[in-house]
């Protein structure tokens, strides 16, 4: 059962425009959400995170929005750059005293066109 879903396998955006990547989750116990970026032949690289007590977190060109009632989060990249072309994974973690297992979505492949 896929608890974290990324329904758009791919996205193409013109350089300089906004990229919006979406993620939905089903488990209301998730309380921490992360975005990872992955280039081919490399491991995922942490990008940005958000706690469930917030609805927005910003880091430079990257902003993550969380809508708890809709169980939805999104990653905004503004302005998009060709180097942003990669696969983006959304991940969620539950409130557990025994560790921080991540549940990942299936990823969205972003292509930024120069």
């Amino acid at each position: 059962d896929q608890q974290v879903k990324q329904n758009s396998p791919s996205l193409s955006v013109q350089e300089g425009r906004i990229s919006i990547l979406n993620c939905d989750y089903t488990n209301s116990m998730f309380d921490y959400f992360l975005w990872y970026k992955k280039y081919p032949a490399e491991g995922p690289t942490f990008l940005i995170s958000i706690s469930s007590i917030k609805d927005k977190n910003e880091d430079g060109r990257f902003t993550v929005f969380l809508n708890k009632s809709a169980k939805h989060l999104s990653l905004h990249i503004v302005p998009s750059q060709p180097g942003d072309s990669a696969v983006y994974f959304c991940a969620a973690s539950g409130n557990s005293n025994t560790g921080n297992q991540f549940y990942f979505g299936t990823g969205t492949s972003l292509t930024v066109i120069p």
């Binding site: 942490f46 994974f89 557990s96 560790g99 921080n100 991540f102 549940y103």
Partner: protein, 111 residues
């Protein structure tokens, strides 16, 4: 800081064989998790080690086992390999916080 390092980077094994993958966590990190990423999928949690004990386990059969050493490095062992075990195996380390740092992965091909 070398970050999370995994070895080997690529591996080809035959069905029924056994394999051991290795991970050295980022300096200062005491928690190591292993993930399996099949083609076109997101990483799936296998298990997590802390203080040399398996702390949490995902939905993987007992053929998947692991170990953590006193220096926090870790091994993933898979017995009786199946074709379906072909995947990218990722190791992630963390200092006990939620954010985890991933290695580059080991690409396992079972033929």
């Amino acid at each position: 800081d070398a970050g999370v390092t995994q070895s080997p980077t690529h591996l080809i094994k035959t069905r029924g064989q056994q394999v051991t993958l290795r991970c050295s966590p980022k300096s200062g990190h005491d928690t190591v998790s292993w993930y399996q990423q099949a083609l076109g999928q997101g990483p799936q949690f296998i298990f997590q080690y802390y203080e040399e004990e398996e702390r949490q386990r995902g939905n993987f059969p007992d053929r998947f086992s692991g170990h953590q050493f006193p220096n926090y490095s870790s091994e993933l062992n898979v017995n009786a390999l199946l074709l379906g075990d072909s995947a990218l195996y990722l190791c992630a380390s963390s200092p006990g916080t939620v954010e985890a740092f991933f290695g580059q992965g080991t690409r396992l091909t079972v033929v």
